[in-house]
């Protein structure tokens, strides 16, 4: 033991089945499940872990000492994120816009800036069916989620970690991929699914992360995703059919692997991941 392998499940397009794939896969692979979609983590709805541990995640926010501040506004001009503003006889701090870069303290000639801690969210750990489940939860109204993602993924346990990423190709996804050994791109055979898959492929290729594709909601075997993947020589790891039964199970908070037929899909996916992504 002692080996840590992080498999990031991402999608480009939202709502293609990242959580469906990662929750079921984590149970089949007996790996840890990590929900890094901190703005709306929903994997625990399906895994229902018993929470054992909750930790706060804090960031540094500037605090201006008005007695020392000489209103030179160097900090205000310096801040790239416009988190500081001049107001009558004071400087207003928009803490939700602050990226905690520390620059305002450095440029202040009067030593008027210190930092105070602010809680932006929590990390919850629990156990479900013998697997470790971890998730980050960003507080409602907070805009900066990257520090929470870094705290969550920077301290992962040795084992295989299936990491359920945020959708899109934003900072949240890039920062999640910084911890990836390999990636699974989940998509659907629609124009939007293809468009956003291309963006996700560009991202993982740029970061040189080995990856494979899972196509969800397949109606016809020969679809636009398959065509694209064949042209680009991208490995399709699994296909999940478009079935009402899956939608019914998912919307009632059930796991697909409780059904023997669907369990096979994830056993096969697990094999394919080991063959194509983990043995390279």
């Amino acid at each position: 033991m002692g080996v840590r392998i992080n498999i990031v499940v991402l999608s480009g397009k939202g709502g293609t089945g990242k959580t469906l794939v990662s929750t079921n896969l984590a149970l089949i692979m007996k790996s840890n499940y990590v929900d890094a979609d901190v703005e709306e983590p929903n994997g625990f709805i399906f895994l229902k872990p018993k929470i054992k541990n909750i930790d706060n995640v804090e960031v540094d926010i500037p605090s201006i000492n008005t007695k020392l501040c000489q209103k030179c506004y160097k900090c205000v001009s310096f801040c790239e994120f416009n988190a500081l503003a001049i107001v009558k006889n004071d400087i207003l701090v928009f803490d939700k816009l602050c990226h905690s870069c520390g620059g305002c303290k450095i440029v202040c000639p009067f030593n008027a800036i210190s930092y105070k801690k602010k809680t932006i969210g929590i990390i919850e750990k629990g156990i479900s069916d013998d697997i470790l489940c971890i998730r980050g939860v960003l507080n409602v109204g907070e805009m900066i989620s990257v520090p929470l993602i870094k705290e969550l993924l920077g301290n992962l346990e040795s084992n295989i970690n299936i990491i359920d990423s945020a959708p899109g190709t934003s900072c949240n996804v890039v920062n999640t991929l910084n911890y990836a050994n390999c990636a699974i791109l989940v998509t659907e055979p629609t124009e939007f699914g293809l468009h956003d898959l291309k963006r996700a492929v560009a991202l993982v290729e740029d970061l040189k992360i080995p990856f494979g594709v899972v196509v969800n909601r397949v109606i016809e075997h020969n679809n636009i995703i398959k065509k694209y993947c064949e042209e680009k020589k991208i490995k399709i790891l699994s296909e999940i059919n478009y079935e009402k039964k899956i939608a019914v199970l998912y919307s009632s908070g059930s796991l697909l692997i409780d059904d023997e037929n669907y369990k096979k899909i994830f056993i096969n996916l697990s094999k394919k991941i080991k063959e194509h992504l983990l043995c390279n």
Partner: protein
């Protein structure tokens, strides 16, 4: 009184810009000496929170009043905390807005 009006152009005949943070220009009109000048809104290229940067910009001009179409909560907070008044107008020519302001006050 110095008034900053968000504007699409540099002339008195230009239309007001309905956006505050990402307007093209600010027309600065002084009611005391009838002087009129225009500054470019450097906040327009800001990656985020252009409204706060634009508010910082007009505050440096020592204005008393802002007239615009829409203003976000952050920029509004900055101006309110600096005891500046914010008026909302329909999209009209800058000269019309100035005249309207004069007739009201």
């Amino acid at each position: 009184m110095k008034i900053a009006i968000s504007s699409q152009g540099k002339e008195k005949d230009s239309l007001m810009d309905s956006r505050f943070g990402r307007c093209q220009y600010f027309c600065i009109y002084n009611t005391e000496d009838d002087s009129f000048r225009v500054i470019a809104n450097t906040a327009i290229n800001s990656n985020s929170s252009a409204g706060i940067e634009a508010a910082n910009l007009v505050l440096k001009e020592n204005i008393d009043i802002v007239i615009t179409g829409n203003i976000g909560p952050n920029a509004n907070e900055v101006l309110k905390r600096s005891n500046k008044k914010v008026f909302v107008s329909e999209m009209k020519k800058i000269s019309e807005i100035i005249n309207e302001y004069k007739t009201i006050n």
